[in-house]
């Protein structure tokens, strides 16, 4: 699971997809799309326009109130966060750039310490603005990645059904065997599933991430039952909810608007996941199956890269060569850690092996962070 702020911020990668190669400063680039002034006061939230053309839209959020404010832009479903700006202090103006597709959107002003925000519905009209996805190679990239997400989603659901059945049968051995395998499908598409913050929380929260007053549910709750408590007593409801939440997730995924930016930045986000959660052994603290997740995150980044590779090879063949050799070098290290159908446990790694993995992750993640800009602007 990503830290909350990161998880919410991820869909903001939709921004700037249509900026084109001429973009060089923030002031210039924002001039190419629509601009909406937002005045957030104490108990008020006024927008200068509620209808905008599709494409890049800049919201200039001015806080005229007395409290620190936040501003959110949601997709047509009203719950998927496209982008947000936090910590807008009194008297401060901050800009938020987002790419909106034709249809509907919703904005919300909210005080930082409050729960209820003031929402406004936005109409997004079709416009002639060219999207980055209009390039044939990028349009194909979106289709390829969509197919990958569909496959992984289907496998996640099927695997979850099997896992939940084992839990409800009280078959600890079978549940433990399935756990890392099924989670692989979650970890491969983590940036996509995490755009649903509510489901990310109910499915993938770790114990120390649980908010006081709410019940801990999801994968890691069952992980602890299997490996620490060594008992599945009283977990039937948790198992049922895991399956229901996964079914909910699967039904929502087709609504995600994939874009080349979302795919490219998703690859970067997956490698960040590896660098901060997997190589440090923080993700699977009870089962110690971190390397399964590690491999799955790398698989996901690789799938995103493969989708964008034709466009990248046109834009910057040298970067493509570098990324391929760095993917290969990281995979070589993971291959050396195979054991049976899976991997050695995290606790069996030596300090030198962890360091070696971390170096290979950095070697890939640093150039990978330039992938999006290169393909979108190239």
């Amino acid at each position: 699971m990503l830290r909350p702020a990161r998880a919410l911020a991820l869909p903001a990668v939709l921004l700037a997809a249509a900026l084109g190669a001429s973009a060089c400063t923030s002031a210039d680039s924002t001039a190419t799309g629509a601009r909406v002034g937002v005045t957030a006061g104490d108990g008020t939230c006024e927008l200068t326009a509620t209808s905008v053309p599709a494409g890049v839209v800049t919201f200039a959020v001015q806080n005229t109130g007395s409290q620190v404010a936040e501003f959110y832009v949601y997709a047509a479903d009203g719950t998927t966060i496209l982008s947000e700006v936090e910590n807008v202090g009194p008297g401060v103006t901050r800009e938020l750039v987002v790419e909106l597709a034709a249809g509907k959107a919703k904005t919300t002003c909210r005080p930082s310490d409050g729960v209820d925000g003031i929402s406004t519905d936005i109409t997004v009209t079709a416009s002639g603005a060219t999207s980055a996805a209009a390039k044939p190679s990028l349009a194909q990239a979106v289709e390829d990645y969509r197919a990958f997400v569909a496959d992984e989603t289907a496998a996640l659901l099927a695997g979850t059904q099997e896992f939940v059945a084992a839990v409800k049968d009280g078959d600890i051995a079978q549940a433990k065997a399935l756990y890392p395998q099924v989670r692989t499908h979650w970890e491969r598409i983590e940036p996509v599933v995490e755009s649903f913050a509510d489901l990310d929380y109910s499915l993938d929260a770790r114990e120390d991430g649980v908010e006081p007053g709410t019940e801990w549910t999801g994968w890691h709750r069952l992980e602890k039952a299997l490996w620490v408590d060594k008992s599945l007593d009283g977990t039937t409801a948790i198992a049922d909810q895991l399956l229901a939440d996964t079914q909910d997730l699967v039904s929502r995924i087709p609504s995600i608007e994939l874009s080349p930016s979302l795919i490219g930045n998703g690859a970067t986000a997956l490698m960040e996941e590896v660098a901060t959660g997997k190589v440090t052994g923080e993700e699977e603290r009870y089962s110690r199956t971190d390397l399964w997740d590690f491999q799955a995150n790398v698989d996901g980044a690789r799938a995103a890269y493969d989708a964008l590779a034709p466009a990248l090879k046109d834009a910057d063949p040298e970067l493509a060569t570098t990324l391929e050799s760095r993917f290969a070098s990281l995979q070589e290290r993971l291959d050396a850690l195979h054991k049976g159908d899976g991997f050695v446990l995290y606790d069996d790694l030596t300090t030198a092996q962890v360091r070696d993995l971390a170096d290979a992750v950095d070697a890939l993640a640093e150039p990978l962070s330039t992938l999006t800009a290169t393909v979108v602007n190239g």
């Binding site: 997809a17 400063t25 930016s261 760095r326 170096d359 070697a363 890939l364 150039p367 330039t370």
Partner: protein, 411 residues
């Protein structure tokens, strides 16, 4: 001049112009850049020249030193990094960003090519000094890693062990090093951070050390500072103004054996932990006898003022000054450029602090090694010192126009 080429200093100078229309602003920027030039030179140390900067440069206040392992087997990839590093280093010493675009002028959906924490800061006399360790030439398995084995200088011989050494692998060795010195710690950290970032996949950080409070003066223009023992140190250091002495004691000559090192020098780095708490319980008289100088002025105990030459046989036989003095070591001299360090507290709550000793010399075998052998066996100060880290680097000559760090080695 395009906007991206503006240095931080120039941007600051032109700050008032930002609100003006774009074309007018450009004109104003160019004018203020020109006007600011002579004044600004004071905080910029020239990067290129026959010798690398950061050696005879008057010692700055802050240090960020980093040693790297090379993790690629591809010599071309290593050379490419050194070219990129050199350009980035040159830009940063001028007060510009690490990359050609800078921290805020790039594409909004790409990570900036400079990390930005030095934006608005002075260049702070930043120097970046590059070196190569013995293991770049031949590794522990005697393997010629990059076809450079034949070029390994004889002077770059692994340092021997010394009595009392308690060296830790985590603080020792390295295939490459970069010494970043500046008068502002953030400028030095920024430079290292950006070089590390550029190097990922080719090199990895082996160890790094932050330092403060230069412990030596390397120029007549600087007063002698005090180390963490509270004493003035390095009074008889080799200084930038002694040009003839520098050729004898500091700069490697082509005739020394390694032609590619002509104009370069050798750097010994030692992390020396001080047992601060026990030193502080030592009487003033004992402290002065251990050092060989008085604590107030730094004058030798044989009499006079700080700059008076000590009369060695009138100093206690095991005093640090007597044993380390060139006259006790066949006239050999080094350019010491160390810094104090404090890495917080250790697990016993004691100050984890000491001297990060850096010394440049023409040949470590006759300089550092000879002096340290004597000190390790007899120096009264040893009771309060532990050497915990050690590294040796060949510091190539300064890059000329179009050259890069180590280009004389790789041609």
């Amino acid at each position: 001049m395009s906007k991206v080429e503006l240095s931080r200093r120039r941007l600051l100078a032109s700050f008032g112009a930002v609100a003006v229309g774009a074309s007018a602003a450009t004109v104003l920027v160019e004018r203020s850049a020109t006007a600011a030039e002579p004044e600004a030179a004071a905080d910029v140390v020239p990067f290129r020249g026959p010798h690398q900067a950061g050696i005879t440069t008057p010692a700055q206040d802050r240090l960020h030193f980093v040693a790297f392992d090379v993790i690629t087997d591809d010599r071309d990839e290593l050379e490419r990094l050194l070219r990129r590093w050199t350009l980035a280093a040159e830009r940063m010493t001028r007060g510009e960003g690490a990359g050609p675009v800078g921290p805020v002028d790039g594409l909004p959906d790409a990570p900036p090519d400079d990390t930005g924490e030095a934006l608005g800061l002075s260049p702070a006399r930043l120097t970046l000094t590059f070196g190569v360790g013995p293991t770049l030439f031949v590794d522990a398995d005697r393997r010629d890693r990059f076809g450079l084995a034949a070029k390994r200088p004889e002077a770059l011989e692994d340092l021997p062990g010394f009595a009392g050494d308690r060296l830790e692998e985590a603080w020792s060795g390295g295939d490459l090093c970069v010494q970043a010195c500046a008068d502002d710690p953030q400028v030095a950290v920024h430079a290292v951070r950006n070089l590390v970032r550029m190097g990922m996949g080719v090199v990895r950080v082996r160890w790094a050390q932050l330092g403060f409070g230069r412990t030596s003066s390397t120029s007549d223009s600087q007063a002698t500072p005090r180390n963490l023992f509270g004493f003035k140190d390095g009074t008889s250091n080799l200084r930038a103004e002694e040009t003839a002495e520098l050729d004898t004691h500091l700069w490697a000559q082509g005739s020394d054996g390694a032609e590619w090192m002509a104009g370069g020098t050798y750097l010994v780095a030692r992390k020396i932990r001080m047992t601060i708490e026990t030193w502080d319980r030592t009487s003033l008289k004992a402290q002065e006898e251990i050092i060989g100088r008085d604590k107030r002025e730094g004058a030798p105990l044989s009499g006079g003022t700080e700059m008076t030459a000590p009369v060695l046989d009138q100093l206690p036989p095991t005093s640090h000054v007597r044993l380390a003095h060139p006259q006790s070591n066949g006239g050999v001299r080094m350019l010491r450029r160390g810094f104090s360090y404090v890495d917080g507290a250790d697990s016993l709550g004691r100050l984890d602090a000491g001297l990060f000793f850096l010394a440049f010399q023409r040949d470590p075998r006759t300089a550092f090694v000879a002096v340290q052998k004597r000190l390790a066996s007899d120096d009264a100060l040893n009771e309060y010192l532990v050497h915990v880290g050690s590294a040796l680097f060949a510091v190539p000559p300064g890059p000329g126009d179009g050259e890069y760090w180590g280009s004389t080695l790789f041609v």
